[in-house]
Symmetry: C2
Subunit: 262 residues, 2 copies
DNA sequence: AACAATGTACTATAATATAGAACAATGCAC
DNA sequence: GTGCATTGTTCTATATTATAGTACATTGTT
């Protein structure tokens, strides 16, 4: 036995998940291929594969005899964060109508944001984000918008573990510069990305709060810097903050109700 | 032991998948709730849950102590049929630009189609299809477009097992009426749904072929019947067929190359 | 404050996943 | 077309592992 990274995990289940992960970079795989990739006995892999197939998480291509990811996996994936997505998508569509730029919904996942939804404008430039994709917190407007509202201990814990990479000259490259920009974001209520990830690409984002008043998601609008005048950015930021306030309240957040009381 | 629906399935893996399915209708569940729903011992459920959590397929909400579906499940779901989706989405976006109606990509799954992608127009009416959702083959344009090109034995096998339900007065309600309409679809190369699923909703679809020249997916354009003039429908059908021909060829289908030879 | 319900840890045992071997089916080379 | 190599699949014995019982910790409720 090689290594048992964590105790109390059920071997066969972890192995089955490992098999699913084999398909991340390959559309079709055979039993032997899978067993080699996963370091499993051919016979063991076969049993796990048969189980995944019986549950439609993978499918057998009857023509090639090979396996591929199954529709049940897709369907189950659509159930993840479904409340948030159902509430938010109409706002995204409204934003595209208003500004004709690409808009996104993300959630935080440790040191990254994961893109849950994207609605593209007709005239959108091809932006390098993909639904299901992941980008670092520190160089995206959405990431910074979320970070700005985190409890300080949680924020510090994250900042300590970050590894900075300079995507462009504008990318923040250390903890201090991030902390400074978060300060500004807190006072404004929204975040901007001025070509910090990609030259020519600007982005404005506002955070979504859960019912513990903690930000965990964000929506953003991205477009070519050339179209993002100072005036327009201001206008967009107001709209975003109005929308995220509504979304947060629908999620049970009472942060804004309290504000109106006082 | 109650029932073992299939031999050669690994119990713990099937149980883990069963636990994931518990979250289809519930956003958050606790250990005890899950164990009751799945008919498992609390302690058994706990081990499976811990394993799923370690693999990020479910996540623990630290505030409530309950579990929810994890982002890794979402991410893996986005890998399903990724080639087809990457090739097709640009065509969907082009269609929306041209006709300003909602367009869809589906794949066949036994007696249903599953919606993989949807691109909505600004002026789209709210149509009751959802990404990840499922509709019967016999009452959708996409379903009929695919059926029309299936090998006859496979088609018959499906028709035998179908249970017809009359969604509207236009819904086909038996095998013969479907077979007749498939005949027409074969000669035209595309399928239509004239309020067969929902009154007021019309739909046009064309099939996508895999590299065995078998249709397995389809794209469609849906809109209110009032906007779908005979002339426009004809034009849309031509565009759809051009696009699906291109998509099919990119997938390695040589059906159309052969045609041009002769 | 007492109770109930839930999440978590530990352990013995029975049940089950595992890997080996052997066979079948397929594809490839010559 | 024949033989070889590779892959998919079945079967079985064994030892590993998942399981459920018990007990404890933690939380929330009345």
């Amino acid at each position: 036995m090689l290594s048992k990274s964590k105790v109390n995990v059920i071997q066969s289940v972890s192995r089955a998940i490992q098999i699913i992960r084999c398909f991340e970079n390959y559309e079709e795989l055979g039993v032997t291929e899978i067993s080699k990739m996963a370091g499993l006995h051919k016979s063991t892999a076969f049993g796990l594969i048969a189980t995944l197939e019986a549950n439609k998480l993978i499918e057998k291509n009857e023509h090639t005899g090979k396996y591929r990811l199954g529709l049940e996996l897709f369907r189950l994936g659509t159930k993840v964060n479904s409340t948030l997505r159902h509430i938010t998508v109409p706002y995204l569509e409204q934003l595209v109508k208003m500004y004709q730029e690409t808009v996104n919904l993300v959630v935080i996942d440790d040191l990254s944001v994961i893109y849950l939804e994207k609605v593209e404008s007709k005239r959108s430039m091809n932006i390098s984000t993909m639904v299901g994709g992941r980008l670092p917190l520190y160089c995206t407007a959405v990431g910074k918008a979320i970070m700005a509202g985190l409890p300080s201990n949680e924020l510090n814990n994250k900042l300590e573990r970050m590894e900075f990479r300079k995507y462009t000259n504008n990318t923040a490259s250390d903890k201090n510069s991030i902390m400074k920009s978060l300060e500004l974001i807190r006072s404004k209520g929204y975040a901007e990305d001025n070509e910090e990830l990609e030259i020519g690409l600007s982005c404005i984002a506002a955070p979504i709060y859960n019912h513990f008043n903690i930000p965990f998601a964000a929506i953003s609008l991205s477009g070519p810097t050339s179209r993002m005048s100072e005036h327009l950015r201001k206008e967009i930021s107001v709209t975003l903050m109005n929308y995220t306030r509504e979304i947060s309240m629908k999620l049970g957040c009472n942060k804004f109700k309290e504000e109106s009381k006082w």
